[in-house]
Subunit: 424 residues, 2 copies
Amino acid sequence: MTTAVSELITKAKAAKAAARSLRMLPTETKNAALEGIAAALERGQRAILDANALDMDAGRAADLGESVLDRLLLTEERLIGMAADVRAVAALPDPVGEEFDQRTLENGIRLAHRRVPLGVIGCVYENRPNVTIDISALCLKSGNAVVLRGGKEAIHSNTALTALVRDALGSAGVTPEAVQFITDTDRAVVEQMVRLKDYLDLFIPRGGEQFIRWVRENATVPSVTGGIGVVHTYVDETADAEDAAAIVFNAKVQRPSVCNALDTLLIHPAAAARMLPDIASRLTAAGVELRCDQRALALLGPVDDRPIKAAEEGDFGQEFLALVLSIRVVDSLDEAIEHIETYGSGHTEAIVTGDDAAAARFVDEVDAAVVLVNASTRFNDGGQLGLGAEVAISTGKLHARGPMGLRELTSYKWVALGTGQVRP
Amino acid sequence: MTTAVSELITKAKAAKAAARSLRMLPTETKNAALEGIAAALERGQRAILDANALDMDAGRAADLGESVLDRLLLTEERLIGMAADVRAVAALPDPVGEEFDQRTLENGIRLAHRRVPLGVIGCVYENRPNVTIDISALCLKSGNAVVLRGGKEAIHSNTALTALVRDALGSAGVTPEAVQFITDTDRAVVEQMVRLKDYLDLFIPRGGEQFIRWVRENATVPSVTGGIGVVHTYVDETADAEDAAAIVFNAKVQRPSVCNALDTLLIHPAAAARMLPDIASRLTAAGVELRCDQRALALLGPVDDRPIKAAEEGDFGQEFLALVLSIRVVDSLDEAIEHIETYGSGHTEAIVTGDDAAAARFVDEVDAAVVLVNASTRFNDGGQLGLGAEVAISTGKLHARGPMGLRELTSYKWVALGTGQVRP
């Protein structure tokens, strides 16, 4: 057994032991610990920023790209933002202990479902240090212990942040063992972690498509996977031109690097004739490269020096994560739904339409975590959809679908209160 | 690729294609198909009973035990019972399409969760032919396609029953491809099936502990596992003696071969002195073998020819599935909870008490799918707990915990209705 694996198992065991005391932690205690984390983030800035500077230096030396370095960077302003996020989690209702589906059986047994923590959450995530704080806060509020394994580029930042979290837990009377951070950056740790089903109740992988697929193939810990968003918006012939242009622009341009950003515009021929040139102009002006099928291309006139070209087959069903949009003219709602059924990843799908019947059919027939009518696909986000925060966006159908907030980090138990009943 | 695997993949593909049309099937159509299955079970008895006779002959020739043969046997009466079960599923509310957690966001987007079928369910199950009908009915009502793989001893019965189901589906205008039955009895089929994640949305293994453990180690299809019930009842010092005796007797004796039957009685010394001799007498009179710790043994006096003996360590934490009960005297509620934490399987746990505070602590602190107060553990059953029917009892915490009925065979999608909103 390597050192890496030993660290993992030692910490996973400690998390499992901690989970038992977390199950019944009063809401006030959990909120006090969260407030302690927020205050420490504001107060302890120097130690965190010093640790982050080590990661940034190493990152620059390793020639990490600008976007990676930007995700890695912590500033005073960002730490204050992280503290605000933690306080937002504290302000959310505590899901644990909530009873639902109460009923009394004919034999007099009073029955209810009671929401309980899952136990221990394992999370492997990208090199954004704020995720360390986000996930710790969400797990704590939902009464779960957590075993964290962040990207190796953020190792100093994450170590410092986890120490801060564990101190704050201890000060609030919560066992610091509730939050475990794996310092070993060996890939073997992850391979072991996804099979640690005796200690982990849920595994959440955050990362790229290749990693998610690997987890699906290899995890025996129950996992909720997502993140891969091949996202479509269908603009039908009744769509309002201004709404369509604004929604498509927002969905593609507002933050192109994330999973709910638009990948493919499907558009009815009548709508395309009426509004595609305007939509395309706005997009190309913002630096978006358009990859168009022949019918769309024909409507856009001479390409000149605009970033517009003919789509290849691989441009449909692809998650670009960049300022690239594929465009296809489809003759009907049926054809749009069929395209989405074929190429979609079940993440986020939208229709822009003035026709209620078309909207209803789209919502009924498209099978995705979030289906939107006349709104930007960028709204598929825990914060935007009212969850306050999210640990991930699930594209699986089991347990949780779409953004996962506090409630999605819980299970339930059946509670049956009798007065001596036996089964006939 | 073997023939076995080809059959599986062909049928799984057909199920996946069928699932798309099942998603939006009107409740009336599903109920008509269920009524058709029920009527056919009553009408087509001869063909079914003839097929069952082949299985019974083969089973006797193979010297299957009496209990196996009894599970395998179909009679006119049992078919009529199965028809009634199907009609009971038809009478249950349709979970599909139900909207919940509706709210309107500040930006005006109207949000709801809408319940949708999972898609395709795979199920490998024991040699009880009625399971073929139960699972088919539950999957149909919840809008799911299903790929069934029953025990090889029931192959003729299951083939005949599946043909009946598919005929009834076709007559009601539902694609018969919704129900797929794998005829190949090679073990390789199951090995392939648990990794068929491109076609199956949920895998439900029914069977013994060894099989369940194998699935947990090997499945990449999301699986809900359960069935292993190491079940405790704690009788505290305030328990009513008659209630305690009746509850323990019912939990152990009423049907000892199933997962919610009692395995270990934990009893407070004061309660043991007051009532253990009576509890033991009733149990031994019903043929229950008692395996007692030293303190319980001392209270039961001379054993004489009664089936009472000293417990060995392995008698705690064991699922007996037979008329055997281990008994341990514990000094406190804390010790009872600690025993259950150590030895329980998270399936079904009960307390018999006259003390509301003790009941509340037990319910709060015991982590199991179903926790009962003053009632028999035999109530952990979908039918008994008001679900109408069940596909399995989950001991996992993800997706569903405890008995799984129709709702537990569904997922949800987020539906967001906007009026042109974009993300700021």
